[in-house]
C-alpha cells in the first residue's frame, strides 16, 4: 500500500492545500479537537474524535437559503446559491463517515436538497482508521468497523507511517494529487496494529450493545413503553445531544430582516426544544417526555422503518460525553431492551 512516514504528513497537507481547501482536526487550547481549515504549521490532532461532528461541512449550523427584496406589493426572489469550491476533509473517523450516508438518505432523497448536494459533490472525504477507540465508542453496534472506515479515501496508521487507500474516484484523485510524496510500503506492522485495535474493539464496555430490540417493526411497542417518563426525567430539554450528533438533521427555516431585504436562512433545530412542534392552535408534544421519546424513536425506530432497517445512530459517543446530565442513547437502549 502507498504510504508516507508520519513525520512527513505535513508535506501531504501542504500539497493538497495548494489547490484546495483542506480541513483537518486540530487541537484547541482546551485539548478538544475541532476541524480547522489547514494553514501551514497546523498539527493533526491525535484525539480520537472532534468535539463537534463532521456534519457541519455538508449541513452547517446556519446557512442562507434565499434572499428577498420587498418593494411595495412586489417581491423579488434572489437565488443566492453558488457552486461550492472543491475541498478535502482529512481525518474523518469511521462513525462520522457513516453519518454522511445517513444524511444522504435524507438530503439526497427526492426532492434533492441542492444546498447539501452542492457541498457533498465538491467534498472529498479522507477517513482515518481508528487505533485507540474509547470507552464511549459503540459504532460496532451499527455495523461499522472502526479499523476499516468508509470515505473516498482511507488513511491508516501503524504508528510510524500513514498508509492510503482509495475507495472512490474522488479518493483516487486525492491520492494521485499527492502520489509523488508516497512510496510503496510494507503493511505487516499495520496489520498487527489493526488486529490489536480489533481486540480492543471487541472488549469495549459497550461492545455488547445490541440493536435487536429496535427497528421499524417495534414502533408501537416502543412508543407505548412506560419507561420514557423515567428516562426523560433528568432531561433539561437543551439541544446539546442534537447539535453534537453527526446524524441529527432536523432544521428550522427563519427569516431575518437585514433592513435592506430579507434573508431566509435555515438553522439546526432540535426536537428536544419546546417550540419544535408548536403551532398556533396547540402542540402535539407538550412535555419533555414526548420530545425525548421523539429523538430516540427517530433514530432507533422511525429512521430504520423508512430506510431498510438502517439506524440513525453511528455510535460515535459524543452524546455520551456531552450531555449535561449524562443521559444518552446507550442508557435509553439498555433500559428499553429490559423486558
Amino acid at each position: 500500500m502507498l504510504k508516507i512516514s508520519k513525520d512527513r504528513i505535513t508535506e501531504i497537507f501542504n500539497t493538497v492545500a495548494e489547490s484546495k481547501s483542506l480541513y483537518l482536526p486540530v487541537n484547541r487550547e482546551d485539548g478538544q479537537a475541532e476541524f480547522k481549515k489547514y494553514e501551514n504549521g497546523m498539527v493533526l490532532s491525535e484525539n480520537l474524535n472532534t468535539l463537534r461532528s463532521a456534519k457541519d461541512f455538508f449541513f452547517p449550523q446556519t446557512e442562507n437559503l434565499v434572499d428577498f427584496k420587498m418593494e411595495g406589493k412586489n417581491i423579488e426572489v434572489i437565488d443566492v446559491r453558488e457552486e461550492c469550491e472543491d475541498f478535502v476533509i482529512f481525518g474523518v473517523r469511521a462513525c462520522d463517515a457513516r453519518s454522511f450516508t445517513i444524511l444522504d438518505k435524507v438530503f439526497l432523497a427526492d426532492p434533492v436538497d441542492s444546498y447539501y448536494k452542492n457541498r457533498r459533490d465538491h467534498g472529498t472525504i479522507v477517513t482515518m482508521a481508528c487505533t485507540r477507540p474509547s470507552e464511549t465508542c459503540f459504532c460496532g453496534s451499527f455495523g461499522i468497523d472502526a479499523t476499516e472506515p468508509e470515505g473516498d479515501a482511507v488513511c491508516y496508521t501503524d504508528g510510524s507511517s500513514y498508509f492510503f487507500k482509495a475507495n472512490t474516484e474522488k479518493g483516487e484523485a486525492f491520492i494521485n494529487s499527492v502520489s509523488s510524496l508516497l512510496e510503496d510500503g510494507d503493511t505487516a506492522e499495520l496489520e498487527k496494529v489493526q488486529a490489536k485495535t480489533k481486540e480492543i474493539l471487541a472488549k469495549l464496555p459497550l461492545s455488547n450493545l445490541s440493536t435487536d430490540s429496535f427497528g421499524g417493526e417495534k414502533l408501537n411497542e416502543l412508543f407505548k413503553s412506560e419507561k420514557w417518563a423515567e428516562l426523560s426525567e433528568a432531561c433539561l430539554g437543551c439541544g446539546t445531544c442534537t447539535f453534537v450528533c453527526p446524524t441529527c438533521q432536523c432544521y428550522d427555516i427563519k427569516d431575518f430582516n437585514t433592513g435592506n431585504g430579507i434573508k431566509r436562512f435555515r438553522c439546526w433545530d432540535s426536537c428536544m426544544y419546546s417550540d419544535f412542534t408548536k403551532m398556533a392552535h396547540g402542540n402535539p408534544r407538550l412535555s419533555q417526555v414526548e420530545r425525548f421519546r421523539q429523538r430516540f424513536m427517530h433514530k432507533l425506530v422511525y429512521f430504520p422503518a423508512n430506510n431498510n432497517g438502517e439506524f440513525g445512530c453511528v455510535g460515535c459517543g459524543r452524546c455520551l460525553s456531552r450531555c449535561p446530565v449524562s443521559m444518552n442513547i446507550v442508557k435509553v437502549m439498555k433500559a428499553l431492551e429490559e423486558k
Partner: protein, 323 residues
C-alpha cells in the same frame, strides 16, 4: 459517605417522612452520573451513587418536584444550598414539600480534564491519597487529583450549608477564595484584548442552551430567547452579534441572583468559561452595592431590586463603562 446517604434515604422513605428522593444514579461508566428521582429502597440500593464524580446541582429539579404531591428528600452539597435558597426566595420551590439533607461537597472531578491529558478508554478511576489511578483499555495511568478538579470547584466559595433540615457529615465554613482572580485579569486587559478573549470563547457557542437550561437562576416559564411571538427567539447564532448577545443578556438576567454555582461552565459542551461573565457581575455588585452573596439567605433584598440612599450614582456605572 455514599453509604450514610443511602442509609438515611431509606430510613426516611421507610418511615414515610418522604415519598421520593432526588439524588444521582450511576451510569454505564464511573463518571456518567445522572440526576434521578428514587421511589423505593430497591432502586436506591441498585443505583444511588455519591462520590467525587457526582457533580450535578439538583436544586433546580425541585421547581418541578415540589409541585407534586408528597414530600421529596433532596441531598444538597454546600454550593447547591445557595441555589436552593435563591429558588426559595423567588418562590420557585415549595419549601414545605422538601426535606433537605446537607452533604459534604467537592472538590469534584471533571472527567474531561482527565481525557484532555490523553488518558482515554477510561474503565475506572480511584483516588489514592491525592493521586488518581485510572484504569483504561490501554493500561493503568496516574495523575494528580488536583489536576482533574472540576472548574466549578477550583474556587470553592463555601463549605457551609446555608440551609438544611439535617446534616450528614460536618458543616464547613465560608471559604476565602480568590475566585475573582480571572475576572481581575480580564479587567486589566485592554478593551480590544478583552473583546478578543470573549469573541474567541463565544464564537465556540453552538446555542444548545445547556447553560440556560441547567442554570438554577433561569427558571422563567417562557424564556425570551424561545419566544417566536416576540421575534427574540434565536436558535442559531445567525451572526457573531447574536452569539455574544445571548450570553450577555443571560448574564444580565441572572445578575444579583446567580449564586456562582458554576453549573453553566460545567455543562458547556464547548468548554466556554461562562461563569466568568457571572462572576464579573458579582464582583461589580460587591463593589458598587456592598458585599452580597445570592442565596445566602431567603429574606434579604437583592441589591439590584433594592434602593438605598447609599447606592452608587448611576453616573459611576456610566463612567466605568467608558473606560
Amino acid at each position: 459517605m455514599q453509604e450514610a446517604i443511602i442509609k438515611r434515604a431509606k430510613e426516611l422513605l421507610a418511615d414515610g417522612s418522604v415519598n421520593r428522593v432526588i439524588g444521582w444514579k450511576k451510569g454505564e461508566f464511573v463518571y456518567d452520573i445522572t440526576p434521578a428521582v428514587f421511589e423505593t429502597a430497591e432502586e436506591i440500593d441498585a443505583d444511588f451513587v455519591y462520590n467525587e464524580l457526582t457533580s450535578a446541582n439538583v436544586s433546580k429539579y425541585l421547581v418541578k418536584e415540589t409541585k407534586k404531591d408528597g414530600k421529596v428528600l433532596v441531598f444538597l452539597k454546600p454550593c447547591d444550598t445557595y441555589s436552593f435558597n435563591q429558588l426559595t426566595k423567588e418562590h420557585r420551590i415549595n419549601r414545605e414539600n422538601v426535606y433537605v439533607i446537607g452533604i459534604p461537597g467537592g472538590p469534584k472531578l471533571d472527567v474531561e480534564k482527565i481525557k484532555a491529558k490523553g488518558i482515554t478508554g477510561i474503565l475506572n478511576i480511584t483516588n489514592d491519597n491525592g493521586t488518581l489511578k485510572i484504569e483504561t483499555l490501554y493500561g493503568e495511568e496516574t495523575m494528580p487529583f488536583a489536576d482533574a478538579v472540576s472548574t466549578k470547584c477550583e474556587n470553592c466559595k463555601s463549605k457551609k450549608h446555608v440551609v438544611f433540615d439535617e446534616l450528614i457529615g460536618e458543616d464547613g465554613d465560608i471559604t476565602d477564595t480568590n475566585r475573582f482572580e480571572m475576572v481581575e485579569k480580564l479587567e486589566n486587559m485592554t478593551s480590544q484584548e478583552r473583546f478578543d478573549f470573549w469573541r474567541d470563547q463565544l464564537s465556540k457557542c453552538i446555542r444548545c442552551n445547556a447553560c440556560r437550561n441547567i442554570c438554577p437562576a433561569c427558571t422563567c416559564e417562557k424564556c425570551v430567547f424561545d419566544n417566536p411571538d416576540l421575534g427574540t427567539d434565536n436558535k442559531a447564532a445567525a451572526d457573531s452579534f447574536e452569539e455574544n448577545m445571548f450570553h450577555i443578556i443571560r448574564a444580565f438576567h441572572v445578575a444579583g441572583r446567580c449564586t456562582d454555582c458554576g453549573e453553566c461552565s460545567r455543562v458547556c459542551p464547548q468548554n466556554i468559561p461562562l461563569h466568568l461573565l457571572n462572576r464579573k457581575f458579582i464582583k461589580d455588585i460587591n463593589s458598587l452595592y456592598g458585599e452580597y452573596q445570592a442565596g445566602e439567605d431567603t429574606t434579604s433584598r437583592a441589591p439590584l431590586t433594592d434602593y438605598t440612599f447609599d447606592d452608587c450614582e448611576a453616573s459611576i456605572v456610566h463612567e466605568r463603562g467608558a473606560e
